[in-house]
Amino acid sequence: MKITELAGRKRKMTGITNILQRVGFSPSGFILLVVLAVLPFIPPFSSEFILRWLIFGAFLAAQAVAFDLTAGYINVVNFGFAAILGLGAYTSAILANTSPYLIVQTGLTPWIGMFIGAIVAGFVGFILGFLTLRLRGLYAAIMAWFVGIAILGLARNLIKLTRGSLGLSPPSLLETSSNRPYFYIILTMMVAIYIICKIVTRSHYGLAFRALGQNIDAARASGINPTKYRVFNFTLSCFCAGLLGGFYAHYFVSLTPQAVMHTSKTVEVLAIAFIGGRGFLWGGILTAFPFVFFIEYLRSALPGLPGLHLVIYGVLMVLVMIYYPKGLAGFVVWAREKIKIYKEEKNGGF
Amino acid sequence: MLKIQDINAGYGFLQVLWDVVFEISEGEFVALLGPNGAGKSTTLRTIVGLIKPMKGEITFKDTQITPLTTHEIVNMGLSYVSESLNLFVNMSVYENLLLGAYTIKDVKIVDETIDFVFNLFPQLAERKKQLAGTLSGGERKMLAIARGMMSKPDLIMVDEPSLGLAPNLVENVFEALERLHEGGITILLVEQNVTLTLEITDRAYVIEQGKIVLSGKSSNLKKNDHVKSVYLGI
């Protein structure tokens, strides 16, 4: 097939760069990742306080990657993203429950529960993919939003299962008070999600996604089966969200419907993903960390202004969408091209 | 009345018009002829401000209209009947006409003009309450021209009124245009029906691949060899 050939065609590269490139890292991107990985041992960042910021950054970044898989490729904004993440979190938390207040007391270890949560979330994503299949952009977004609100409503109302608005206190993942191990767990998750999504989008799936995102009828006419690709995309994205939900549940050890599933949580992820740039996957990662730091700094510097960071999120998102829709990643790509051209010109001069 | 100087225009990176120059004086009936895709409609769209020219100047009634927006240009007394007609399909014939007179404040004048166009197109008067979307092709053309008339323009530009019409309807429409012209209105007509057009117009320009290649009195153009062989098929 022609598509696969195109996708498989790679520039000739040597050794390690080649391998990195295959899993979606440019050399500079990889260096950034290594820096991130050693950060917890470098003084200001090694404090528990700042480690929490790093964890939160990685958590947001990973969400943005999973979100971008649908929003940036098949052009469907999954407005129920936070609810699906919450579904994963709740599944794992309920399975881990041992207290007699709930009807389920399996006491399953979070390590397995997280994956079950992810599977449940993935399954709902599968259904959501089918539901929104025939719907174009806006309809699909609203439908996903309604599904998200339905899940939120269930979490609030199935009191015997979820304790309703009171929320759950799931057990923590590790028996340690240090944040460092958690950082490496979420960092691994983030990298794994990124690599999986990148490999998928690098394959002929990615081309099919983009074709569907551009024009679903034209894509169908050229033999791309929308059902298969859209449903797969939703399933994968929601699976990742569910997994991250599991991490949330067992790291923050507190879960209320409002705090994880609310529409505004989806909007936060959406803002990060869009400011980062749609359709690159790594844009969100690049944005999330500086953002979290900036925001947490704001929060500690101006304690009297709660939610200022959210306003800034919103304003930035609006500005980016009007004036620079390519986002941060688009800018980086553009700058890289410029530098390359400049270098070539310079070399050509000699 | 209308003067177009060295216009370059197009869509995005695609340039369609190259140094287009022409001029229409008051009271004239001028045709713009050319093959498909020559840029006739693009010329009209540029004049009316739907497309901004990359280069050149358009003057209407001694005012530079290049920087103006469409509704400002229409307000100055220039009316445009597009190829796709752009009727308000979910509104009645009457409402379409009322909207055509949007720029006119005086209700009495509006009523008079409506009488005038109903007189011009009696078929429309019979279908006053009918939705524009349910009119026949010919009736739509008439409605579009009538709507264009409603603003009491000094110059009306009509894009291919004969497109897709049966011959007898074409004659109807052309007759209506002639009557308008006799009433003192300046007309710029874009047409593919060259024989008929050269019959009724005073002058004509021929545009090919975005450039004006010929111009002159209609009666002279009829005898021109190029026009004969390419457009009249003689």
Partner: protein
């Protein structure tokens, strides 16, 4: 500009007339079925739960209709799926609160009868004005620049922008005014009326009346005035509107202002039910969208009926299925509707929504 001309060419290659008539018939039938079911539901609710339930549903139906009409208007004329509609509601609630409360306090001292009656209306008018101004600012600041930059993927981009606006407004309010609930027990301290054996407060009656009157005025404005006709013209064919000399920018600003203002009025009228707080708009937004998706995007007249349909569906859910499922039933209903009639039961009137 090129985009606009393209979209016109599309109207030319519309579906053949025969098919459209059939399509219309089909949507008509489904509309009648839904209306009949709603009336049946109303009767059953009346029989089982008492007339009070029905009256309550009618009152909230009026409000959902008012909200949905504003949403549908903005959607139909400007192709903007407004996710910040709830924030217009919120602004209305706050403005009414901040205008009415001092008046109320003053009145406790002065005891002016006139002010007692008129005070709430001053709050409503202030809310309507504030909403109108907010709409104008948003349109000028955000949509106008976007429209000039690009018309590509307009619907989705506009939608996401309104998401951003909603986010800014809720969090901005939280920042400036704080998260506290600000409400009033009632606007008019009068004993409730009795109607069909149902006790109805003056507040409710007035809220319903205002909803009905606002919708009627809007209807008249759109049908009978020159500017209203221009608004409809823009919604049907933007280039055509441009060609007859309508200032589209002005119409857009006006429309957004009107739509926003209607939501603000709803927020003000319902202050006695929904206290003002930053995210108070979420539920109204949800219902407005529910209505609009159900009846067909951008269908203004459908939205009026839809408000009542939704109110009865909700009343029925509470009565027969249980409050716990209040958020689940709409999702299922919407799924079914979108499967049976993908462009809503009354049909969509928005061009360009079908393209991505």
């Amino acid at each position: 500009m090129a985009e606009r001309i393209n979209s016109n060419d599309k109207t030319k290659t519309r579906k053949p007339a025969k098919k459209r008539v059939f399509g219309k018939l089909k949507t008509r039938t489904s509309a009648w079925v839904v209306i009949a079911v709603t009336i049946g539901l109303a009767i059953v609710i009346g029989k089982v739960g008492g007339v009070a339930q029905v009256v309550n549903a009618v009152v909230s139906g009026g409000m959902w209709a008012l909200l949905a009409v504003g949403l549908a208007l903005i959607l139909g004329v400007m192709n903007i799926p407004n996710f910040s509609h709830g924030e217009s509601f919120m602004v209305g609630a706050y403005v009414a609160y901040f205008v009415f409360s001092p008046l109320y306090k003053y009145n406790l001292v002065s005891g002016s009868k006139f002010l007692f009656i008129v005070g709430p209306f001053i709050g409503f008018i202030a809310a309507a004005l504030a909403g109108f101004i907010l709409g104008i600012i948003i349109e000028r600041l955000i949509f106008s620049p976007l429209r000039k930059r690009t018309r590509e993927r307009w619907v989705m981009n506009a939608f996401l922008l309104t998401v951003g606006i909603s986010f800014i407004l809720t969090n901005g309010t939280n920042l400036v005014i704080g998260p506290n609930f600000r409400g009033i027990p009632r606007y008019w301290d009068v004993a409730p009326f009795s109607f069909l054996g149902v006790r109805l407060t003056v507040d409710r009656i007035v809220a319903f009346t205002i909803a009905v009157v606002s919708i009627a005025v809007l209807w008249f404005f759109l049908r009978r005035t020159k500017t209203g006709r221009a608004i409809r013209a823009v919604s049907q064919d933007e280039s055509g509107a441009d060609m007859v000399g309508i200032n589209i920018q002005f119409i857009h600003t006006l429309t957004f202002g009107l739509g926003t203002s209607m939501a603000s009025v709803a927020g003000a009228c319902l202050l006695f039910m929904f206290q003002a707080y930053p995210t108070v708009g979420l539920k109204p937004l949800y219902f407005a969208w529910y209505v609009v998706m159900l009846v067909g995007l951008g269908n203004v007249s459908g939205a009026i009926v839809g408000g009542f349909i939704v109110a009865f569906l909700q009343a029925g859910t509470q009565q027969f299925i249980g409050v716990a499922w209040e958020e689940v039933v709409p999702t299922i209903v919407m799924m079914l509707v979108l499967i049976v009639a993908p462009s809503g039961i009354f049909g969509s009137e928005v061009k360009g929504i079908q393209e991505q």
